[in-house]
């Protein structure tokens, strides 16, 4: 019999609809994989096998009764633990929110349940989504299911959506939610040989997502292939009056619109992304990608994004500034941790709670953010960074006057080992060099597998599109996917 946990979202949905297997059988298969991998991979903070089964039973009952089935009927998914889920612990991988059980459901997760999906559990991540390796979680590192050939060193699954990437790559779920502030969907997808798309800022409601940097945060799906991402994104996106920056636009039928024929399309290659000392395998994968897109009918042109080198420093002012403001709400009064030393007053309680509840990376960013927003430095840092952000956005507008999508590597290297970069915050930040510019400009961007490097680790190619043109991004991704023939998956050692 087919291993149900090896099926894609599209195949699960079709199989359930046709009666080849039941939704319950699918949920059971994934529940078993989740439980078997937990000790080794630590991808989940909380597993919710009963919820997965209950959702599956509802789908099986609906099918038996001849009722119409949703877009994700019978598909169990993993939910990044940044999305508030009703009465299920939601922590953002922090100590300060440990035990927090929301009394409401995030818009994106509710949409997924309404489409017939079930929840396998809450996925581990970098604390408050701050990190690129999933080493800042209070609940321990996530370990990538991938290993270098002939080596057992533990590798980073990427971050911040590292639980999501590890779980999809290890077949613990067919798809997962992610969130992307500076690359947190694309970088982990690239590190684990899966596909992930960050849509245009505002496509997915931020309501009920624990806030990190509100002008950048955007939810998106992570799955095994482009079609599955399109299916998931259709279910997740849509206008929400509860999010002031939600886009009041209809949700396109991205799945139905998929086409790998790129005739008449122009792909831009940004020359500033070709950096000195670039990893040879990454450079080769980029060249391969160019050849594949040409083969799909696209014309390839050079474009320039002149302010690329300033994107990272601008991001590391803007994101911490917004984080320092957003995270002011954790005070030990309304929810989450309270640390009340004997005889302490209110101010002491705030300080003790925040000292005990936040990890080092979160404290670092709160301190930087507070500093760059302070009265004497606001213009020199924050206003200057927001002006540079405008210039970066102009760069993309001008490039998109010559092309339809932009192709670049997702990351400067394949996955690094856990511990390899965690001692040097700045070196860790530099890992986001290719993903941050599209985030600053609010553009849709996706990572698709581009093959393996000489160590047997996956590499990702990134496609950046015009605002609102997720379809163009997905289609270019599909063209690459059909040509790369990526079938590698991590060998099961856990």
């Amino acid at each position: 019999m087919t291993d149900l946990a090896d099926l894609t979202v599209a195949a699960i949905r079709a199989g359930v609809a046709q009666g080849s297997f039941t939704a319950r059988e699918v949920a059971e298969a994934f529940n078993a994989n989740v439980a078997a991998a937990q000790d080794a991979l630590n991808a989940f903070i909380v597993a919710t096998p009963e919820q997965a089964l209950e959702a599956a039973d509802r789908v099986d009952a609906a099918r038996a009764a001849g009722q119409p089935l949703g877009k994700l009927a019978g598909v169990p998914i993993g939910m990044k633990d940044l999305f508030a889920t009703f009465d299920v612990q939601t922590t953002a991988a922090s100590h300060i929110l440990e035990g927090f059980r929301p009394q409401y459901e995030s818009t994106v997760s509710q949409k997924l349940w309404d489409a017939g999906a079930g929840m396998l559990g809450k996925l581990n991540l970098d604390q408050f989504a701050m990190g690129s390796s999933n080493e800042t979680s209070y609940f321990g590192n996530v370990v990538s299911p991938w290993r270098r050939a002939g080596d057992t060193a533990q590798l980073a699954p990427g971050g911040s959506s590292g639980g999501s990437s590890a779980a999809v790559a290890a077949r613990l779920c067919p798809a997962a939610t992610g969130t992307d502030t500076g690359g947190s969907i694309r970088q982990p997808a690239a590190f684990t040989g899966i596909t992930g798309i960050k849509p245009t800022y505002g496509r997915c409601s931020r309501w009920g997502i624990v806030a990190f940097a509100s002008s950048l945060d955007q939810a998106g799906p992570m799955a095994r292939d482009v079609r599955d991402c399109a299916i998931m994104l259709e279910a997740m996106a849509g206008f929400d009056p509860k999010d002031a920056t939600s886009l009041d636009l209809p949700v396109p039928e991205w799945e139905a619109g998929l086409s790998a024929d790129l005739s008449g399309k122009v792909v831009g290659i940004p020359r500033e992304y070709r950096m000195d000392g670039m990893d040879g395998d990454v450079a080769k994968s980029w060249d391969d990608g160019i050849a594949w897109l040409k083969d799909a009918g696209a014309k390839v042109v050079d474009v320039s994004l002149p302010h690329t080198q300033y994107a990272l420093p601008a991001y590391y002012i803007i994101a911490p500034a917004e984080a320092s403001s957003n995270l002011a709400r954790y005070d030990g009064v309304r929810y989450g941790l309270r640390d009340l030393p004997a005889g302490a007053g209110l101010q002491d309680m705030y300080a003790a709670t925040r000292a005990a509840g936040f990890g080092d990376e979160v404290k670092r960013r709160i301190l930087i953010g507070t500093y760059v927003l302070s009265a004497g430095f606001y213009d020199a840092y924050y206003t200057q960074a927001q002006k540079v952000r405008t210039l970066i956005s102009h760069d993309f507008k001008s490039a998109f006057s010559q092309c339809d999508v932009i192709l670049a590597p997702t990351t400067p290297t394949a996955a690094f080992a856990l511990g390899e970069k965690s001692g040097d915050p700045l070196e860790m930040y530099l890992n986001d060099v290719f993903s941050v510019p599209a985030s600053l400009a609010g553009l849709p961007a996706m990572s698709v597998p581009a093959g393996l490097n000489r160590e047997g680790l996956p590499l990702g190619l990134q496609i950046i599109g015009k605002a609102f043109d997720e379809q163009g991004v997905l289609n270019a991704g599909l063209a690459i996917e059909q040509r790369v023939g990526f079938v590698a998956k991590p060998e099961r050692w856990w």
């Binding site: 590391y316 670092r364 915050p425």
Partner: protein
């Protein structure tokens, strides 16, 4: 934060701030700081009570459900009046 933690973090913060200094060299003459990455107009909701029951009133128990100390329908805090 403890002195130990500060000793560790101060050089890291200085390193990060030194690195972001490079933004000062960008010519931003005539450039407006970005306020909205995707142009969007802020909406007004209908001026009615409890337009969305989920975020409206009469949800005291749900609001207090996760409070570390909830007493008599209020958030409990240490004494604030000397």
């Amino acid at each position: 934060m403890s002195d130990d933690a500060l000793d560790r973090m101060v050089p890291e913060l200085n390193q990060i701030l030194d690195w972001v200094e490079q933004l000062g060299s960008v010519d931003v003459t005539g450039i407006e700081p970005m306020t909205a990455v995707i142009p969007n107009t802020l909406r007004l909701r209908d001026d009615v009570v409890d337009a969305d029951p989920l975020t409206g009133g009469n949800r005291r128990d749900a609001v207090l459900a996760n409070a570390p100390a909830a007493e008599h329908g209020f958030f409990g805090v240490p004494k604030v009046i000397e």
